[in-house]
């Protein structure tokens, strides 16, 4: 995701969407073939099941520049693999709790049950999450590794703060 999310001071949220193959991805297909229009901010990744969603994927998306993550799975009781969406739900709830503690507004990550016939729901949810995240603004994560001259970077940040200690 090399494109900038900030253009001419207007913020366009970048969303990564993880959709399950059997329900939500098919619903997104339906939305497309039905010529429904919705916010174009999401990059959709198809998973076989929402239960395949490793919480690492969500963190990796945020780390690599996403401002929000949308997860789509089958309605409870409808999982193609029986249990996958329940596992996804449990991981999602605990991940949201962790994100709040890590200073990330948990509205940035959203799970929705959308069945294969609910193309209109994909349209509505996509529009909603883009608007929600537009209100939150871009997600700023401190860079993980110093790329350049560490001493210079530190001196600069010390200088900006005035006092290095406090």
């Amino acid at each position: 995701m090399s494109d900038s999310s900030m253009t001419n001071n207007s913020f366009e949220p970048r969303i990564v969407a993880f959709f399950c193959n059997w329900c939500t991805y098919t619903a997104a297909d339906l939305a497309g073939t039905s010529r429904m229009t919705y916010a174009p901010n999401a990059r959709v990744v198809r998973l076989m099941c929402s239960g395949r969603l490793d919480p690492q994927f969500v963190l990796a998306a945020l780390r690599e520049g996403a401002d929000g993550v949308l997860i789509g799975g089958c309605h409870p009781g409808d999982c193609h693999y029986q249990e996958g969406n329940y596992k996804a739900l449990r991981r999602y709830k605990l991940l949201k709790m962790l994100l709040r503690k890590m200073g990330i507004d948990d509205k940035r990550v959203r799970l929705e049950w959308i069945s294969a016939s609910e193309g209109d729901r994909v349209q509505a949810v996509m529009n909603e999450i883009v608007e929600d995240i537009r209100k939150l603004g871009p997600l700023h994560l401190e860079s993980w590794k110093y790329q350049g001259n560490l001493a210079a970077a530190q001196e600069l940040s010390d200088a900006i703060k005035g006092v290095a200690y406090v």
Binding site: Q56, L62, P76, R90, L98, L150, A151, A164, Y165
Partner: protein, 329 residues
């Protein structure tokens, strides 16, 4: 022929790693028989200048333990890197940030406010806080700067190998020293421990169910822990499934759950996310309200899942979403 030279340095750490080296017992005689320890501030009287005067890469192996959180530690890490042919991150703190890395939930100002002003045992009527620079009649006094964010060693310098654990188990140290002396080190970047989950060497392995269905999360002081049964199956937050083996299941054998000090296997990039995934999916509820009421019993999710790896995690430190609104909690 002169013996290969070895240097050992500590950054933000507790001294437990040095203790682990001493715990080699008689084996340490074999080590000093094979190498010259030329720098080890905790145990031997050599100075920084002695290292500065060495040729680059003169140390055959440099061990650095501790996380990096001050400008001085970063400077020493760079010096050790320059003078060492092989640089090894020794222990959880230099590997993944360790316990000091949990400070990444705060910043320097919050930490200093707490330590020098708010802590109940502190009496600081004059409001004295250490400064990076202080003017005195004789000139300027300086102290290293204290960073907002704790870093792992490899976020500061290039690291060749990682010797994991809090502290590294004696067995892993011995094996690593053997590999170094025999020139049988694996490919650069390797973690010098078996690349398989702790459950694999757990003495309670046979009682681990095929499918977990945890009814309730418990904390160790709340229950009478069954010394035979799988700890996760008893509802304790055991990090075994997501942790690398190599410690001989020391904590589990002591009837306490694994806290994940060795870090994950090579297939995992973010320890906490993987541990969270394993624990959450083992819970036996499908209803949203039930799930919420049970996960809320995990009182400190960051401390539980990222106890040794917050700076190494993908999020690296606390983000600023709530700070803007002034609701830092």
């Amino acid at each position: 022929m002169s013996k290969p030279k070895v240097g050992i340095y500590w950054c933000a750490s507790c001294g437990g790693c040095e203790e682990a080296i001493v715990d080699l017992n008689e084996d340490i005689l074999r080590v000093v028989g094979a190498v010259d320890i030329v720098f080890w501030p905790v145990a031997l009287d050599f100075k920084k200048e002695d290292v500065e005067h060495m040729q680059d890469r003169e140390l055959a192996v440099g061990f650095v333990n501790g996380a990096i959180r001050t400008s001085e530690q970063a400077e020493m890490a760079r010096l050790m890197r320059r003078k060492s042919a092989v640089l090894i991150a020794f222990g959880s703190c230099s590997h993944m940030g360790g316990i000091p890395g949990l400070a990444n939930l705060n910043d320097a100002k919050t930490i200093f406010d707490r330590v020098y002003h708010q802590a109940p045992s502190v009496v600081n009527t004059e409001g004295v806080v250490p400064q990076a620079q202080t003017k005195v009649p004789e000139g300027d006094l300086t102290l290293p700067s204290f960073w907002d964010t704790v870093k792992t060693l490899d976020q500061i310098v290039d690291v060749d190998y990682y010797l994991p654990g809090c502290p590294p188990p004696v067995k892993l140290i011995t094996e690593a020293l053997g590999a170094i002396l025999e020139g049988k080190l694996p490919a650069k970047g390797a973690v010098l421990a078996p690349d398989i989950s702790l459950c694999n060497e757990c003495p309670r392995k046979d009682s681990k169910p095929d499918e977990f269905s945890i009814k309730e999360f418990k904390r160790p002081h709340e229950i009478d822990i069954d010394p035979q049964k799988c700890l996760l199956d008893q509802g304790l937050l055991c990090m075994g499934p997501s942790t690398r083996s190599g410690c001989g299941a020391a904590c589990v054998s002591g009837n306490m759950p694994c806290t994940g000090c060795i870090g994950p296997t090579s297939r995992v990039r973010d320890f906490g996310a993987k541990a969270l995934s394993a624990i959450a999916s083992s819970l036996d509820y499908r209803d949203e309200k039930d799930i919420l009421s049970h996960i809320e019993k995990i009182v400190d999710p960051v401390g539980s899942f990222y106890r040794y790896s917050l700076p190494w995690s993908m999020l690296h430190r606390r983000a600023s979403d709530f700070d803007k609104k002034g609701a830092l909690k």
